[in-house]
Symmetry: none
Subunit: 192 residues, 4 copies
DNA sequence: TATGAATGAGCGTTCATTCAT
DNA sequence: TATGAATGAACGCTCATTCAT
């Protein structure tokens, strides 16, 4: 059984790598700096991870999982789907705005050759909660009859883009902007 | 005035860098390899570009410009806006599918710390054709009254995401899928 | 007095190091791997040996001693010297062929800078049985009157080389080949 | 065509590696030290050699070739074979004594796992002059009818061992000792 | 302009050794 | 004794960049 110290070290390494990559990118985040920021020796990282690449991939899976879990944190299946979707959509945006480093890391990873080093099956599992959420709503004719994969892409892609806009500092979104964004998405995907 | 040879060399360098980065990412695309693929000496690259970063940024601007120009290639201002938008939306997707390397490069760049090294003003200029296109349609009440920046983010983000789905090989989109995607977007953004 | 467990551990460490070095050489035989193969913790090795170098040197001395003892296992001082020498010479070759790992280790060590870290006096003691064996035969005029050290070098060197030929797999020696090898050596060193 | 400077650099690297390995062994001869001794930058070595291992192997082949060529430098095919062999045998010893670093390097290499990384065919070619020299003498019935490979092993092995004795400083060989060594070998291999 | 050998700082990683448990 | 996580110096190697030609 792992003790607290173990968790501390591994988590410190994850945190340091996240910090660095989100700010400087993959290739300006040397292991030596990760070690320094995590307050461990360089060699220690290699007790927990085989290589830099493996560390980065493990970090991606961990953060992606956490992120997706959080999207459904407030999901109330008793509510009408529209409400549930609204909560989900706004949560996507709010989570990212509250955790910009994690968002930047995830986007950077997902748009790099790293992504293709992770087996598709594993990626599917990560995404499956979103996929299931929307697929069911297609099935119950609450949502437009579009292939669920396209639906997922549409919804997450538009949200990502809006998040980037906000995080770029170029545009400060008010809550009514968020509401507008939600409706824009909803009116696109809902059953006519 | 630049002669043909100059163009050839510079273009060969651009092409080689595009090839490498789209496949292997920024790191794993050494200048020596670029030189080899471009069939020039390593030093030659530095006659055209101050540094690797500058070359990469110049490539981004060049490709982004070309890409955006192409989106309006078939724009017919005489047509109803819905038709024009349909053409624009499908063109976004088709251009990317026809030029996957360019798409991958642009996405990788835009989701990396490189992006923030380019002045915001310069980026705005690049995006302005899309911005103007949609802003006018908001003004003329064809589109929902949303801040144009959000609108641009929504439209391009959803398209990007759908393109990645297609390019990933995970899902083969038919032309009716594309049509569905267009309607999904359109129904979201059109004036109710 | 050492208990069985001690012997087991120490021997397991020796065995693991032998295995690794004979196959991969001194470098490419990390202590962590020795520990793994010996089924002990890395730190445990340092209870038995001060350092990697000391372990390697101790292994050399141990194996060299064992090896030389074995050469005289069947020595029958009642027999004519020629017979005794024949037995000795063939035993050198057979021992090595039966224990190739030990042979490779010993040769690798003896041809490396490690050898010179062992005091010459200690090495002399190890070799002395062979030295005495041949020196006496020079004294009794059975062997050519050559400085015994040269004699030892000649005999052991030719045997080593023949062993390597056999172990390389390049040449399969029959028993008549071995007999020929013995005669070649014998005719060289015997008193005319 | 390679200019002098090229030769100088490559040779300086070879020389530095030889110097270091002969004295400290493979794993205490870091590339950084080679670079320093050769008076080139660390990276420069990698223009000439793909890796440390490749450099070491190339050095082996180069020195082995040179060494074997030298053995026949004074060969006079007009002379009786016994004289030719005497010249060859003493040359083996003298060459090594004059070039102890090269001898140590070659022995260290030949008794390490490095040797097996060189294709057997390539090694055969290197040895073939010695092989041919002795094989012919077996054929013409000047030498004992032993498989030539065994003969080569016997002759070179005994010589190597005698060289090590001399270089160890443990025993100073006079020219009459050398003469004795030659006769010991010759009487062993000559046709009775 | 064009070359490509040369540079050397800096990278990812290894591994002999230590020490708190 | 025995453990094995932790250390950090040192390794082999890469690669953006320079400069003599």
């Amino acid at each position: 059984m792992k003790n607290n110290k173990d968790f501390d070290k591994k988590d410190a390494i994850f945190k340091a790598m996240l910090e660095l990559i989100s700010k400087h990118g993959f290739h300006s985040s040397p292991m030596s700096e990760v070690a320094k920021q995590a307050d461990v020796a360089a060699g220690t990282i290699y007790h927990y991870f085989k290589s830099k690449d493996e560390l980065i991939c493990a970090l991606y899976v961990k953060l992606k999982q956490k992120n997706i879990e959080n999207l459904f944190k407030n999901d109330d299946t008793a509510k009408p789907f529209k409400d549930r979707f609204r909560s989900f959509y706004l949560q996507m945006i709010n989570e990212a705005i509250k955790n910009p480093k994690e968002f930047y890391f995830l986007e950077q990873f997902a748009n790099s050759p790293y992504l293709s080093t992770i087996p598709k099956a594993e990626l599917s599992v990560l995404d499956s909660p979103i996929y299931d959420f929307l697929r069911k709503a297609v099935f119950t004719q609450v949502l437009r009859d579009i292939p669920p994969k396209i639906l997922v892409a549409f919804v997450t892609g538009s949200a990502s883009s809006i998040i980037k806009l906000q995080l770029s500092g170029e545009f400060q979104m008010t809550s009514s902007d968020l509401e507008l964004a939600f409706f824009t998405c909803w009116d696109g995907i809902k059953k006519a």
